[in-house]
Every structure is written in C-alpha cells, then in structure tokens.
Symmetry: C2
Subunit: 354 residues, 2 copies
C-alpha cells in the first residue's frame, strides 16, 4: 500500500547475482568496480544488471563504507545573489569530485541553522559548508566538531571555533570605499547594513556577522584617520527592521543627512538607489553611493554604481576544495583564506555640492 509506480521491487545486488549465477560478493565487486573480477564474470554480471534494470542504492553503500559523497551547505537564503553564486561555486567543485549538496536556508536565524546542522549530520554528510548565522555563538557548530565531521565556514568566521574559513578582505574593501568618498570631499558618509544589532552601534561592539564587523571597522578607522569625529555615529545597522526606505529618508534629507552612503550589499544598494530616485535626490550630484558586491544591473542604471567586488564564486569553490581536502584526511592546522576585494568604479560617486 502506498507503493507508487509499478510496485515491482527494485533489483538488488542479490538479484543480479542470482541471475548472473555468481555470489553476491562477486556481483557487488563487478557492479561497484572494486576488488578483482574476471572479465567473463564482469560481463555476465553487467548483462544481468541491465536486464533487471539494477540501480545501486547509495545509502546502503554509505552504511557500509561510511562515506556518503554528500556535502551539506547551510546559507542564509538561496535567493540572495551572494549565496546563489557561492553555492554554484561550491556545487561545481563538488560535482567535479563526485559529491552532491544538501542545501539548507537558515534565514540567518541561529535556531533554524541549528536544526539544519542536526539534520545534515543525521544524513551523514561527509562535510559541511556553512555561512554561519552568527559569528558570536559557536554553539551551532559544536555538534559538527563533536561528530568529527569536517567543516569549512565561508563569508563569515566564528572567532573561537578553530576551523577553516574562506572570506574576503572586507576591512580593506571598506577602507577603499571610504577613502574614495573622503577623497571626493565627503565628510558625512553613512555605512548601512541590514544586520540586526541591539541598540545603536558603539565603538567596540561585536557584531553578529564578522563580514559586516570587518566592514564597519574598515569604515570607522578610515573616517577616524581622516579626523572625522564620532565615526560610529555614521554606522547604521538594523536597516531591515527599521526599513531601508525610512532609514534612507533620514539619511537623505532628515536630521542625519549625509552626502554619501556605503551600502553593505547589493540588495541595500538597490534600495538606497530606489529611495533616492523616489525622493528626486540625484546620484551622484546630491548623493554619492557605493557598495559591496557587484551585480549585473549595476552597470545599466543611470549612473552605474561603484562597488567593491568579491570573487563570490571562488569563495564557494575554494571553501569546497578545502573541505574536500579535509575529508580526504588532511591533517593541517585550520586556516582562514582571505580573498581580495577589488574596486569597480562607475558613476555613482562625485564630490558633494558645497
């Protein structure tokens, strides 16, 4: 009952063995292409398998070998272009090596992430790729370590958890962007992120995303070096909760008015761009805009948007390469790989009106 399809049981190694008139072990050797089998027998087995429509059961194999040839990947949201790209990079190297990916979206929610970790471990993934929902709480990663399963973090690190990670040089990127704004003559520059954070940002606060944290540090230190007072006051977090639009509104013509905005990702950049447009605020004449992460559409807007670009594909690809190494039993000490960010200048930055 409930048996879908023809109801015909799937052929197993035993069935093939019987038809080929060999032992189960021999059939398995021929089918699984291991051990030694004479050509004659191999042929006979193959024929029997074809005849029966034999399809291997990878789980049974995993049960006895201990290797599932499956990796787990836990990201914030596959709809976010950043994660889609990183995932594709990971999928490419995984597929190349004969591995599959089980995908879970955490929505940056530690509790969801925790469940995803448990499920993936239960499904015996050979290793995990995680863009941790929180850089502050190592708790979610502990089960992975306890299970002795290889783990590689990407996009964010989790201080205190001694595993491999692949990130980019966010601090340098932020510095670059900020210096560019400064060089153009801006003094009131806002940094905007959707990262959730209790209260306003204060110097020394630790943020739940190490990536954003690094960006903020690069931003603040650059403003500081330029002699700007209270640079922390220009850091605006919680843009999702407060509404990018409402925030942009304050930044555009409200009390916190600035002449330049640095968006922490392409989604925010888009919303700021839209907010400016809706308010008739001209970019770059009245507002300079720049951000992190390039996107195809950023070169067709008027003006194009200046960004610092990350090798997102490579982040996922490299993380997966490292994970595969670990799975194969590489005993090196964990390392954090830092990929570069590169500036792509377009037309959204200009000198502020005097």
């Amino acid at each position: 009952m409930g048996e879908t399809g023809t109801g015909r049981r799937e052929a197993t190694v035993s069935d093939v063995a019987r038809v080929a008139r060999v032992s189960k072990a021999t059939a398995a050797r021929a089918l699984g292409d291991y051990g030694a089998v004479s050509d004659a027998v191999r042929d006979r087995v193959q024929r029997a398998a074809d005849e029966l429509g034999y399809r291997p059961n990878a789980l049974a194999r995993t049960m006895s070998t201990g290797r599932s040839h499956t990796l787990g990947i836990i990201i914030g949201d596959i709809e976010n272009p950043f994660f889609a790209k990183a995932t594709r990079g990971a999928a490419n190297v995984a597929a190349e090596a004969g591995y599959d990916l089980i995908l879970s979206n955490s929505d940056e929610e530690p509790s969801v992430e925790a469940k995803a970790v448990a499920v993936q471990l239960a499904k015996q993934v050979d290793g995990l790729l995680i863009a941790p929902a929180s850089s502050l709480e190592p708790g979610n990663l502990q089960p992975v370590l306890d299970a002795g399963r290889p783990l590689v973090l990407f996009d964010r690190t989790v201080p205190g958890v001694d595993v491999d990670a692949v990130i980019t040089d966010n601090r340098a990127g932020a510095r670059q962007l900020t210096e560019m704004m400064l060089a153009a003559g801006h003094r009131r520059i806002a940094f905007m992120s959707t990262l959730a954070h209790k209260g306003g940002y204060r110097a020394g606060d630790t943020l739940s995303s190490s990536a954003v944290a690094d960006r903020v540090i690069g931003f603040v230190e650059t403003l500081s070096a330029a002699g700007i007072a209270r640079p922390e006051a220009f850091v605006h977090l919680n843009a999702r909760r407060d509404g990018v639009d409402a925030l942009a509104s304050r930044l555009l013509d409200g009390g916190d008015a600035v002449t330049a905005i640095i968006a922490s990702d392409s989604l925010i950049a888009l919303e700021v761009f839209r907010a400016a447009q809706e308010r008739g605020v001209l970019i770059p004449q009245q507002l300079s805009l720049a951000g992190f992460d390039d996107a195809p559409w950023m070169s067709v807007t008027t003006p194009g948007i200046t960004v610092v670009e990350q090798p997102i594909h490579e982040i996922g690809a490299q993380a997966t390469r490292i994970l595969l190494h670990r799975i194969r039993g590489d005993g090196q000490r964990p390392e954090t790989t830092i990929l570069p960010q590169t500036l792509v200048e377009r037309g959204s930055v200009a000198s502020p009106k005097v």
Copy 2:
C-alpha cells in the same frame, strides 16, 4: 586512519540501550518517538542518549523504513534568479514538511541532467522536482518513472511523459506583451531567447523548452492575427550562441532592424537594455523593450522595464506540495497546474517614431 576528529565512534542505539539498561528496540522506540514506552524508561533512555551524545543516523533509518525525507531538485543553474526563487519556494515547503533538498545544476545539458537523475535516485530521494533540460526527450525522466519515484516537473513540461507539472501561462503572457507592442503601434517586433535551436525558427518547429515554445506560439499567433507577414522571421533563438550583443546590434540598427524587442527572460532583458544603452539607442523613444520575469532592478533603471511577471516562488512551492502529496500516496491522475502571468507596466514601451 583517515578518521577525522576525536576518533571516538559515534554512539548508536545499541550503546544508548546498554547504558539505559533496556533493549535496543526499547531504546529505539524512545529515541525515535514511535511505539509505546513508559515515561520512566523514556527518561532513562533520553538521559543515556544525552550522556553519550547520541546522534541518530538518518540513513540507517531510511534503510529500514524506505523513506529518506529527502527530495531531489534538478534545475538549470542556481545562479539564475528564476531557479533561485523557485528553489527557495520548494525549500520552504519541503522544510515545513520535514524534507531536505539535494540540489543539482544541469546547465540545461541533458547528459548532465541524466547523471543527476541517476545519482539522486541512488541516494533514495523520496521524489524529484525537475525543470527538464529538454521538453523533447523523455528519456532522462524514464529512470524516475521506472524506479516508481514520484516526479513533478516545473517551468517546462515534457509532452508524452504523464506526470504532474507546474508551469505558467506563457502563451497568454506572450500574447499580452505582443498585443501591448502592437497597440503602441509597433509592426516590427522581435522575440529573443537564448534557447538553443538548430537553424532559424520555422513555423511548426518544436523547441526544446516548452516554456519558450509557448511564448513563441503566443507571440507568433498574435502577430499573425494582426496581419503581420512571416511572423516567424521575428523569432530569434540561440541568443547565447550568437551573442545577445551581436544579435541586439542587428536588431537595433542592422538589416533586421525592429522597433520593439520582447526578451524571453530577465537576463536577456538586461543584456538588450545594455546593448541599447551602449549604442545610444534610447528606450523607449527609439526602441521599446519588454520581457518575461520581473526583477528588483527593473524598477530603478531609466526607464523602468515593462514585464510580464510569473509567481516564481509559487511555482516551486506548488510543485513541491504536489510532490509531497504523491509521496504520501495520492492516486489521482497527473495534472498540469498552470499559474497566471501578470503584466507589470513601467516605462520601456512607447509608440515607435514615424
């Protein structure tokens, strides 16, 4: 050797049973939350499990129950926003029901798809979600049917394969877009797709994507009804192979010059938009542009881009709901669900210059 981590073997039901001083079956019942167990024993088992850091092996469970609580999803490319959205829709309803997703990218390559199907089946997915790489060759889907595994197609159908499918009304959408162009006064309107197709498009040709095929039909029949001669000549496929830019160039000022272009997806719309911009062709004054699939950036370009929008999330979600029904053993005849497309008018369409 090769043993990563602490080397400590993972605790199993047997271990827990021993520590809790009960039989394996009882421990399993308590842990797996099935059968009947006294509260006292349940407690004892739970404590033992915690103490040992017991983590269930979902594969072993699958081996005996036959259910993996895992679905396979095979798409063209997770980086394509269309697939990312559909996948997210699928992941949401899957997670809600306690299912995971194994993701494979086919790159629209039937041979890659075939391998993905084999692997997913081997991994005992309970069902498959596939955006078939080719609507013309049912061959890749046969193994799924043979294995008696539920299958739901999305975005495209495969005539001749009697399974559920979730698509949108591409023909109506194309008609709507074409009528809009006609109403604006256009007579030379191009339809552009990256779909690979041997030779130029001729009336009656069957295309390898039923979605594009339907769009082409809606487009051609509308032109036809308006008395346009040889409407097929306005259908341009292979835009990837030929280069969207080169093609756009011909369409913009070359021999095939048109006054309006309908792009078959958001990626093409972007490239056409860019090509026009680079050539200094003004939209909508010199060229009207419209396309399929909405994207966030389409409302911030100058002008905004008019599109017919599909409920992409829902495509994936609905396909998954249906798949889950089938897995639970629903005996209904397979159905094709057709979701609506809705027009979103922005500024990229105007009357052609006389």
